[in-house]
C-alpha cells in the first residue's frame, strides 16, 4: 500500500514523542508533533551528563541527538505551545488543536530559555511588561509566547500519545522542607544544577557541597500516598549523579538513604560495588529535616546497627523524586477515550503489547504508560511506531 497522505499525530515532544515521530518519518509518514510547552525534549533534555572518567550510560546525550534528528526532518511538523482540544473518529481522526494554556512556573526577567541548542526558538518571552522594563535583557530572536501555538484542525490516520510523566511534587512530603529550606533540592533540580554549572553547588550560597544526602523513593513505593510502584529511574540517576559529584570532588561525603537499591546499567553488580566503596548506604528512609543556622540541614534517622535514632547534619539534601502519572492523563483519557490503569498511567492492551490500546488507531509511547528510563522510553516509542506502521499498512 502506498504511504501517500498517511499522517500521524504524536502528542508530546519528550524523548518518547521525538523518537516515535522520527521513526515514522523514516517511512515517509507525515508527522504532526504536538507539544504543549514552548520547547521540545520533555524532562530528559534537561539532564546532565553523568560521566566520570567514563560514560555512565545515563542516556541523556541521546536525547540531544534525537532532538537534532527531529528538528532537521522536514516530514515532522512541530506545533509548540499547543494542546489537543478534541478529537473525532470517523475513519480518520479529525483533531481540534488550540493554543496551550501553558504558563511557566518562574521566569526571571520575563524570559525563559530552552535547554538545548536545538530548541527553536531558544528564548521565549512570557512576561512582556517585565521585558519592556529591561529590553537589554531580552535576547535576540526571543519569541513572544502569545504569538506561539496553533489553533485549528488536523486530519490524521493514527495517534501516538507520548505526553509523559510528572516528577513527584516534593512539597507533598512537607517534613522534608522542600521549597522551605534552600538546600533541600530534588533529583530534577540536581540534574539542572549540574547541567548549568558543570558542578554541584548549594543553592543557598553557590558554594560546593561537601556533605550530601540522597533520600530515595520520595513519592514512589509509598503506601500512604497510594503510590504502589517503583519509579525505576531514581536509584540509577541518584547513584550516577553521586558518582559524578564524587569524581569531581573526592572529598565529598555522600550518604544514600534507601529501601532497596535497583540495578543501574548493564554492569550493575560492579557499579553497585563501586558505589558501596564510595558512599555510605543507610537502609532507612528519614522522615524529619530541620534547618540549621548556616543553611545546613539536620536529619533524624534510625541507625541500622543498633536501631537507635540519631541526628546528623548535611550541606545538601537531594530528594530522589520519582515518576508520577502526567498531569493531563485524566483529561487526555477523556479526549481520546483510552483508559488509565489503577496507578493512573495509560493502559495498553496486554503485557506483551503495552503500546496498542483498546481504541484502534491510538497508541502509547514512553512514560505515559508507566515508569521508564530514557532507553526504555525510546524502545517503547520504536515499538509504538512499528505498531502504527502495521496499523496503517505502510510498507
Amino acid at each position: 500500500m502506498s504511504t501517500k497522505n498517511k499522517k500521524v499525530m504524536v502528542v508530546g515532544g519528550g524523548i518518547a514523542g521525538l523518537t516515535a515521530a522520527w521513526e515514522l518519518s523514516r517511512f515517509n509518514i507525515d508527522v504532526e508533533l504536538i507539544e504543549k510547552t514552548p520547547f521540545l525534549g520533555g524532562y530528559a533534555i534537561q539532564y546532565c551528563c553523568k560521566a566520570t572518567d567514563e560514560c555512565r550510560q545515563c542516556g541523556a546525550c541521546t536525547v540531544e541527538a534525537m532532538l537534532k534528528n527531529v528538528v532537521n526532518e522536514p516530514k515532522i511538523k512541530v506545533h509548540l505551545a499547543t494542546d489537543v482540544e478534541k478529537i473525532n473518529n470517523s475513519g480518520r481522526f479529525s483533531v481540534d488543536l488550540k493554543k496551550s494554556s501553558y504558563q511557566p512556573v518562574s521566569a526571571t526577567e520575563g524570559v525563559i530559555r530552552g535547554y538545548s541548542k536545538n530548541n527553536s526558538p531558544l528564548h521565549v518571552i512570557v512576561d512582556k511588561e517585565k521585558c519592556e522594563e529591561n529590553p537589554d535583557a531580552v535576547p535576540e530572536g526571543a519569541v513572544e509566547l502569545d504569538t506561539m501555538g496553533f489553533s485549528g484542525k488536523l486530519d490524521v490516520d493514527a495517534v501516538i500519545l507520548a505526553s509523559g510523566f510528572q516528577p513527584f511534587d516534593a512539597e507533598q512530603k512537607g517534613t522534608y522542607g522542600y521549597k522551605k529550606f534552600p538546600n533541600v533540592v530534588t533529583g530534577m533540580d540536581l540534574e539542572r544544577i549540574i547541567r548549568e554549572n558543570a558542578t554541584v553547588v548549594r543553592p543557598s550560597d553557590g558554594k560546593a557541597a561537601q556533605k550530601i544526602a540522597f533520600i530515595q523513593c520520595v513519592g514512589s513505593r509509598d503506601e500512604n500516598l497510594g503510590n504502589l510502584w517503583c519509579s525505576q529511574v531514581c536509584c540509577p540517576y541518584a547513584l550516577r549523579m553521586a558518582e559524578t559529584i564524587k569524581h569531581k570532588n573526592a572529598d565529598a561525603e555522600i550518604s544514600i538513604f534507601y529501601m532497596d537499591i535497583q540495578n543501574v546499567g548493564k554492569n550493575y553488580a560492579e557499579f553497585y560495588e563501586k558505589c558501596k566503596t564510595d558512599f555510605r548506604f543507610v537502609r532507612n528512609i528519614p522522615v524529619d529535616v530541620f534547618p540549621m543556622e548556616n543553611d545546613s540541614l539536620s536529619m533524624r534517622y534510625m541507625n541500622e546497627e543498633d536501631g537507635l535514632c540519631i541526628n546528623e547534619e548535611f550541606d545538601l539534601l537531594v530528594l530522589s523524586v520519582g515518576i508520577m502519572p502526567g498531569p493531563d492523563n485524566n483529561d487526555l483519557s477523556g479526549i481520546f477515550d483510552v483508559g488509565l490503569n489503577e496507578d493512573g498511567f495509560f493502559a495498553g492492551i496486554d503485557k506483551l503489547n503495552s503500546t496498542s490500546t483498546l481504541k484502534g488507531g491510538i497508541f502509547l509511547a514512553g512514560t505515559v504508560a508507566g515508569p521508564k528510563d530514557i532507553a526504555a522510553s525510546m524502545a517503547h516509542a520504536g515499538q509504538a511506531a512499528s505498531e502504527v506502521i502495521k496499523h496503517l499498512g505502510v510498507s
Binding site: 539532564y47 542516556g59 541523556a60 513505593r221 532497596d260 548493564k266 554492569n267 503485557k351 524502545a379 515499538q383
Partner: protein
C-alpha cells in the same frame, strides 16, 4: 544526516532475505514480524524443536498471553515466507550489510544463504545458586525452577499444605526484577494453599518493573514475612534452620522451614561468544551481545544490519523482548527497503593505486564495513558509518572520507589558528557527535569562550590524525584540545581510544622538540555539556597563559 556533504549518490541492490538465529519465542516473533513485512526469513534453531525454553521461568505472569504464543508458533510453521532450519547452526558469515553470505550446517549438509540482515535471538541460561548459600539441592532444597514446576501441577502443589517455605533472593547474586518476580509469583501461589507460610530472605528487592511493588504488597498483606538483609542468613544442616541477628529487635530470629527455595541466576547464553566471533560483533558485560553503549539502544550491534534481540543483549522478560522485536522490524524495513538503496558514493573510499592490502583498515574498522576486492580493500557504503578511523590508520593514506578529505582538513587546520588580539591561539578538534555539539551550545548560550578558540569538526575523534595535531603546532597554535566522547560513549566504539593513542604519540614528539606537554590536552565531552565545554576551554586558556605563547611561532 544534514552534516555530510554527500552530493554524489548511487543506487545499489542489496539482498533482502533475513537470517534469524535462535528459534525460541523471541526468534519466532522476530521471524513472524519480519516475514510480515514481506521479507523472506531463514529461522535457524540448534535444537530439534522450535519454541525454546517455555518453562514457567520464561512466561512469568503471562498466563493469559500464552495461548497467543502457541498460535504464533503454529502460524510460523506454515508461513511460506519463513524457512525453518532446526538442528542447524551458523558456521560462518562473510560479507557485509546488505550482502552477507551465511554458511549453515545442518547435519552433514552445508547450506549457503545470501542475506541482507541478521537477527540474533538467543535465550538466557539459568543456573542454580544453592552453592552460594552453602546448600545442596535435596527434597527440601529446591531451585526456583523446580518450585515453578511443582506449583504448576495441582497434585504436587498439595505438598506445601501446612508447611513453611523459605525463599532466598538477591543475596547470592545482585538479582534483577525477573528473579524477584519469579519468587513473588511462587509466594502468592503458596498463599492460596491451606496453612502454608512463606518467609522471604532478601537483599535488595529488585522491584523496578511494572506491577512488582503491588505484588510485594499483596503478598505481605496475605501474611508473607520479608526479612531484608544485607548479608546471607546463617543456614545450618542443609536448611534445617535459618537464622540472622535482627539489629532493631536486638535478637536472633530463627526459623525451621520445611522447604527452601533458592534463587537462580540468569546469564548469557553460552553460544553467544561463538556467535560474536563469527558475526564480528562486540561482546558486552557478562557475555551479552551488545556493548554498554547508549548509541546502540535498543537493538543495534556495532555492525549495521546485525541486530540483537531480547536476552541476547541483556536479561529480558518476554514483554521487553517483544519491544526489541518491533524495533528490529522497523530497523530491518528501513535498512532493506525494496532491495534498492541510494547510498553516498564518497562516504569512505579506498584509492586503488595507493592500497597495498595491508589489512590495517579491515582490522580497525569498528563497524565491520570493509571487505576484499581484487586489488584493494573495499568499503561498503551501506555498512560504513563514515567515522574515518580507517583513513587515519591507513599507512598509505589511501582512504578519503566524504566531507573530511585530507586536503580540506589541512586547510582547516591552517586557517583555524587565529590570534584573538594577543590571546592564546587555541584549536579544538571536536567530534561532531559530542564536543562539537557542546561547543555550539556553549556559544549559543553565551557561556564564556576564549577569543582565540576555533573548533574543527571531525566525524569521530578517531579521524584526528597525528598530522593534524603536529601541523597545528607548526601553524602556530599555542594550545590544542582533542575533544572526544567519554570512554564508552563513542558511536564507533573506540574512535576515542584511537584519538588518545595519537595524542600520546604527539606527546612523545613534543617532548623531543621541547614543547610543553600542557599545550595539548585530551578530554572527554558529551553533547549536552555546554557548560562543561566552556569550563574545559577556559581552563585550557588559563594554562596556556601561564605557559606563554608557543615557542614555535
Amino acid at each position: 544526516m544534514t552534516d555530510m556533504k554527500h552530493t554524489d549518490m548511487e543506487e545499489i541492490n542489496i539482498a533482502t532475505d533475513v537470517l534469524v538465529l535462535g528459534g525460541g519465542l523471541t526468534g519466532i516473533k522476530a521471524a513472524s514480524e519480519i516475514a510480515g513485512s514481506g521479507y523472506k526469513v531463514i529461522l535457524v534453531e540448534k535444537d530439534a524443536e522450535l519454541g525454546g525454553r517455555k518453562g514457567p521461568g520464561t512466561l512469568v505472569g503471562l498466563k493469559e498471553e500464552s495461548k497467543g504464543l502457541q498460535d504464533l508458533e503454529d502460524k510460523i510453521k506454515t508461513d511460506s515466507n519463513v524457512e525453518i532450519l532446526t538442528q542447524a547452526s551458523l558456521v560462518s558469515a562473510a560479507g557485509v550489510t546488505g550482502d552477507f553470505t551465511a554458511r549453515l550446517l545442518k547435519g552433514a549438509e552445508v547450506i549457503e544463504q545470501n542475506v541482507g540482515a541478521i537477527v540474533v535471538a538467543t535465550e538466557f541460561a539459568t543456573g542454580a545458586l544453592n552453592e552460594k548459600y552453602g546448600l545442596s539441592l535435596a527434597d527440601n532444597v529446591l531451585t526456583q525452577s523446580r518450585m515453578d514446576e511443582l506449583l504448576a501441577s495441582e497434585s504436587d502443589k498439595e505438598k506445601f499444605a501446612n508447611k513453611t517455605v523459605a525463599f532466598l533472593v538477591s543475596l547470592g547474586q545482585e538479582g534483577n526484577p525477573l528473579v524477584l518476580e519469579r519468587g513473588l509469583r511462587s509466594v502468592l501461589a503458596l498463599q492460596e494453599i491451606d496453612g502454608c507460610d512463606a518467609y522471604i530472605y532478601a537483599g535488595d528487592l529488585k522491584v523496578a518493573s511494572n506491577g512488582l511493588e503491588r505484588m510485594y504488597k499483596e503478598s505481605r498483606e496475605k501474611g508473607a514475612v520479608y526479612f531484608k538483609l544485607t548479608e546471607k542468613p546463617e543456614i545450618v544442616e542443609n536448611g534445617k534452620t535459618i537464622s540472622f541477628f535482627d539489629s532493631v529487635a536486638r535478637r536472633n530470629i530463627e526459623i525451621s522451614p520445611d522447604f527452601i527455595v533458592v534463587e537462580e541466576e540468569m546469564c548469557a547464553n553460552h553460544l553467544n561468544e561463538e556467535l560474536a566471533e563469527i558475526l564480528r560483533i562486540n561482546v558486552g558485560p557478562s557475555g551479552f551481545l551488545q556493548s554498554d553503549n547508549v548509541h546502540f539502544f535498543p537493538v543495534r550491534s556495532n555492525r549495521e544490519g546485525i541486530f540483537v534481540a531480547g536476552s541476547t543483549r541483556e536479561i529480558s522478560s518476554l514483554p521487553s523482548a517483544w519491544t526489541d522485536v518491533e524495533n528490529i522490524a522497523i530497523e530491518v524495513k528501513d535498512l532493506l527497503g525494496d532491495g534498492k538503496k541510494i547510498v553516498a558514493k564518497n562516504k569512505a573510499v579506498v584509492n586503488e593505486d595507493k592500497c597495498v592490502i595491508c589489512l590495517t583498515c579491515y582490522r580497525c574498522c569498528p563497524h565491520g564495513a570493509i571487505y576484499w576486492g581484487d586489488k584493494k580493500a573495499i568499503i561498503s557504503p551501506v555498512a560504513c558509518q563514515g567515522c574515518g578511523i580507517c583513513a587515519s590508520e591507513c599507512p598509505m593514506d589511501a582512504i578519503q572520507v566524504g566531507g573530511f578529505e585530507d586536503e580540506d582538513m589541512t586547510e582547516k587546520v591552517k586557517s583555524g589558528v587565529v590570534s584573538g588580539n594577543g590571546t592564546p591561539r587555541l584549536l579544538a578538534f571536536c567530534c561532531q557527535n559530542s564536543a562539537f555539539e557542546a561547543g555550539e551550545m556553549a556559544d549559543m548560550f553565551k557561556m564564556p569562550l576564549p577569543e582565540g578558540l576555533r573548533m574543527i569538526k571531525v566525524p569521530c575523534a578517531g579521524k584526528i590524525d597525528l598530522d593534524y595535531i603536529l601541523n597545528a603546532f607548526v601553524a602556530g597554535a599555542d594550545g590544542i584540545l582533542v575533544m572526544a566522547c567519554h570512554p564508552g560513549n563513542c558511536k564507533s566504539e573506540n574512535g576515542n581510544t584511537f584519538a588518545q593513542w595519537r595524542v600520546n604519540d604527539a606527546y612523545r614528539m613534543m617532548e623531543e622538540v621541547g614543547l610543553e606537554k600542557d599545550r595539548l590536552c585530551f578530554v572527554g565531552t558529551a553533547s549536552n555539556m555546554g557548560s562543561g565545554f566552556s569550563s574545559i576551554v577556559v581552563d585550557m586558556e588559563k594554562r596556556i597563559n601561564e605557559l606563554g605563547l608557543s615557542p614555535l611561532k
